[in-house]
Subunit: 81 residues, 4 copies
Amino acid sequence: MSRANVSAEQLKLFIERIETLEEEKRGLADDIKGVFAEAKSNGYDVKTMRTIIKLRRMDRNDRAEQEALLETYMSALGLEV
Amino acid sequence: MSRANVSAEQLKLFIERIETLEEEKRGLADDIKGVFAEAKSNGYDVKTMRTIIKLRRMDRNDRAEQEALLETYMSALGLEV
Amino acid sequence: MSRANVSAEQLKLFIERIETLEEEKRGLADDIKGVFAEAKSNGYDVKTMRTIIKLRRMDRNDRAEQEALLETYMSALGLEV
Amino acid sequence: MSRANVSAEQLKLFIERIETLEEEKRGLADDIKGVFAEAKSNGYDVKTMRTIIKLRRMDRNDRAEQEALLETYMSALGLEV
DNA sequence: ACGTTTGCGCTTTAGC
DNA sequence: GCTAAAGCGCAAACGT
């Protein structure tokens, strides 16, 4: 088999792997929607839930960001991190 | 246990389920990036790969429609297609 | 002149207006680069400057976001904003 | 006035100049969005307009190169171009 | 000069 | 169908 064909085969495998992963990703997005729907049918306010989840995610991110900022400052001051 | 506590507990479970699913979704996004990186290190052009994946996902008719519209506009502007 | 030609002319004008604005936008981006370069040649640390600018922008955005969050809470509680 | 104060003042000026330029840049971005909105309300397809602007900005050679690469990959995968 | 990494802007998606 | 948010892609910027 020629080198070109080997390459084509390899390219095809890469693309199929990505397409599979994307499919799974879409599946998870649907699952998430499903849980929200279930919560709603149990009387919970979806908008408020989203706010809570967003805030919890922000807390984590902010914490990570603070660390990064600190490192930048330390570097700027010529200190070891 | 009071009704309020039951509700709070249930709400917590819903939110944790969603956060877990979102975490998995992020994991898959990372996996996808990893495959692209691997393909790149094997000499493939990532941008072109993305184009191909996009085209394959697109419905054949939608694609033809979009191209027709583009040609119409290009002609209207006196540009080469 | 036919209606098609009028449309083509109008389309052309829209596109040219956008292209002009984008050109100006690129010019401003260059100006910004220039100021950073000037500051650097005066001995300032560019990375630290970027951090400061980012923080100042974040402060403003966070303030706006806090307001938005408050509104969400108020709505969730059935209160008037 | 001490040297440190001069430096601080100078740094402040640099930062303010950059913030002003960034503000203007954001203003232009808004203007562009406005023109797209106007075009849309006149019945034009925004997505296609974006494609045209992109193509016009692209160098003719680069464009031909990319298309050739896409065709190569598509053929390798046994897909129709 | 090149490759990696970060930040910005666009595109797409989800909800109203 | 439109508006708002999130995720993704690209391009510039930094370090090697």
